[in-house]
Structure formats: C-alpha cells, structure tokens
Amino acid sequence: MANDLILDARDIHAWYGSSHVLHGVSLQIGRGETVGLLGRNGMGKSTLIRTLLGHVAQRDGHILLFGRDMSRAQPHEVARRGVAYVPEGRGVFPNLSVKENLVMASRPAAAAVRGGWSYERVMETFPRLAERVRHLGGQLSGGEQQMLAIGRALMTQPELVILDEATEGLAPLVVAEIWKVIATIRADGIATLIVDRDFRKVLAHSDRAVVLQKGQVVLSGAAPELQASDALAGFLGV
C-alpha cells in the first residue's frame, strides 16, 4: 500500500509570519483515491493545500510525492510531478483569452504519457466555455471562471487534482455539473483532494475524509463512517 501512495505528508507545520497556522498535520492520498478535506472557515484547509504545493515558504515537515522527497521543493517542481491545483478564488489569468488560458497550461510531454484531457474534451465538458473561447479570462462571470480554472487544471494531465472550493459561487445546475466532472475525474483514476463547504457532497464523492480544526487533524476516516459519525457535525458547526 505504501508504494501506492501519491502523496505522503507527515507532521506539516506552517506559519504566516509569526502566526503558526498548521500544527503537525499528516495526510496521505493513494493512487486514484479521492480525499475530502473538511473544516470550518479559517481552520487551515487552504493553508495545508498551499503548503503541500510549496507556496508557503515557512513550512516544516516531510512531504513525499510518488515516493520522492518534496519537502523543500518549488511549486513548479510539485506541479510537474502531476499535481494540478484549482485555487480558491479561481486564479484565472485575466489578460489571457479562454483559449490561451487552456493552451498555456497544456504540457505536451505529460500528455504523451498520460493523455486523456485534450483541449477538445475540456470544451465538450464545459460547453459554456466553448462559446467564449475568445473572451479574456477577466471578462468571464464567476462561474465561467471556475470552469476555466478546472479545465485548465485538467489540461496539465494531472495524477492528483486539488480543488479548493471549486463550487463556490456557481449556479446549482453548474454545481451539479462540477460534481459530475469530479466524478468523471475520479472515474478516470485521477486522485483528488476536495475542499468544499457542502460537506455532504464531499463525503458522497470521496473515499476518505479528513477534518481540520485549528490547524490539526481532529477526525479522519472512510467517508461513509464519517457521514454517520456525530462528532463531524460538532466540528463543522452544523
């Protein structure tokens, strides 16, 4: 099982300046596994993700990616190993057109090995984007931007996709669609780490889930078990 781990992070600490945000978080993600990350606002979910990706400079702990030590790696090195990121707030490039946003993310080398998510397939998955290929990223509505960010992540042919609040600000139909896409990604055998405020949906779509509270893991286990647990509601404040 151990060699089947895509990500093996142990005892992660992170700081913003002098404030200590993560206090020894450990997280494992297996090949093709979907993991939900839950917790109330400000508990450190996004920080954990950004730390794993190498975006938080002040960090400590051990991060293994495909068995390789990435504890001190630069963000682009992490990304090149096949980790794609859909950040909260979307992060589309406002001065690039929809098409350019997608094309610049494509990595021909990775596509040759893993393939799967071509430009055409992204366009099929998000017909709304197909209508607007020539528009600039900055001119899209919030929901369109969210779709673009997911599409862009898929264009890198990832083995692990990290979605931070991927459904924020989307219409119910689109949310449903995004969950469908997440299911497709899952079915493709791509591992995912999902953060979303709709914890029921998260649990329904993941194999396992982890709950963060004040920078520490307070609960984790298989999704169905958690769904049934009483403790979960307390930690999520519902």
């Binding site: 682009h76 992060g91 490039f93 001065n95 690039l96 946003n101 610049m104 990595r107």
Partner: protein, 293 residues
Amino acid sequence: MDFATFLIQCLNSLQYGLLLFLVASGLTLIFGIMGVINLAHGSFYMVGAYMAFALTQPIAATFGGGFFSVLVAGTVLAVALGYVLEWAFYSYLYQREHLQQVLMTYGLILVFEEVRSLLVGDDVHGVNPPAILAGALPLGDMMTYPVYRLFISGVCVALALGMYLVFTRTRLGMMIRAGSSNREMVQSLGIDIQFLYRVVFAAGVAIAALAGMVAAPVSSVYPGMGNQVLIICFVVVVIGGIGSIRGALLAALLIGFVDTFGKVLLPSAAGVLVYVLMALILIWKPEGLFKAG
C-alpha cells in the same frame, strides 16, 4: 515647407520614432510583464552603445569580423549581463513594492554610470557604420538620406514584428503574459517562473543593448546617454499603454512626428511638446492608447 521637405521630415519622424520604439520595447516588456519599473533600462542602452565602441577593436583583431560580428557578440554579452543581473539584483524585487524597485534601479543607474567611467572614461566617442551601409541615397537636389538610418528602421520593424509574434502566438508568450497577472498560479501549472523571468529580463536587456549598439553610429557614444533616453522611453511606454508592444510602436511614432515637426514649426516650445502630448493623451485615455492584454 514644400512638399518634398515635408516628405523627408516624415521620413525623419518615422526613423526617430522607430529608434525610440526599439529602446522602449524592452522597457515595456520588463515593465508590463515583470512589473518592474526599471529605471536602469537607459543604462543598458548605454552599455550597448559603449560595447559597440569598445568591442570593435578586439573583435576585429581576434575574429576579423566587422560591425555585424560586434552586434552578435554584444547581444550575447547583453543576454549574459541581463541573466546575471536578474539573478543578483532583480529576482527578489518581484514580491516587493514597486517603490522599492524604483529605489533599487535608481541605485543601479549610479553604479552603471560610475563603472562606465572607471572602465572606459568620460570621453565622447564615435562609431563608424559598416562600410556596406555607409552610403547615402540622394533625395531632392540638396538632401541625401543615409542608408544606415534605413537599416536602423529595418532592424526596428523586424524586431517589432518578431516580438509581436512571440508574444501573441507562442506558448512562451502566453506564459509571460500570464506571469504578469498571477505568479503563484503560473508556478502551479509547472512553469519555473524564476527561470522564465530571468529569460524575459535577459531579452529585455538584450533589446536595449542592441538598440544602443545599432544607434551608436548615429548617436555617438557619451556619458549620460542612457538617462537622456530613459525618460522619453517612459513617455513612449505610458502613452502606448503599459505592456503593449503595439501601443509602444504607435506611441514612439507619434512622438517621432511631434518632436520632429515641433522642432521645425514651434522651436521655442519643442522641449515641452512631447510632454503636452502625453498629458493630453492620458487625460483623454487614462490607460494609454492600448490597454495591455
């Protein structure tokens, strides 16, 4: 002014504008894309001009090459210089406030000027155009037009076209533009932004130095030449719209015309005309003629 003179003045305007564009394009590249207000850009122009002067002898002696070998060698050196400078001075500026960059690049201007003085002295030097371009075309009965100035215009146009294509048509161009808006996300797509920026910066330096080298035969080589060109290039960049190559081209030509005809028709106000033009354009279009992107 008769019609023939008018036409020749137009040619002059065009050529001056193109030369300005050549210097300003590197500035707009670094400025719009990397978000660095690079006051030292004029210094790179000066470095280029001094290279055209200082390299001629050694290159002729060792390789037997002429002006064009100097251009190649100078460009290579400029790329190296840009690469090293980015690594040493600029790489930690991106996260900083813009004003810190102003301070740093201001410091660099002083250093460049003094190092130049230590290495080459404070004298004025001339550089000869290559023999094949040394001639002049007769225009009208009195005027001739130097072939070398046409060559400059040609270089400028070719470079403008090249940059435009790289920028809009290639993945590299997209990455560069993306980097200007969201560094973190570019990294998350597996792009080594540090390296990318180093390359862009080196290219910007090389363009400025190339402009200096190409301009050396017509401008001569003198202390402080960089600062003189810097401010006018900022004007070009700002009128054109930051980060827009197309805008820089148009603005440079506009300034070429205003400056040229201003000198002839309104000599007492010639100095201020360019700035009046800039103020008017920015009041009319507060983001320059072309918004980047």
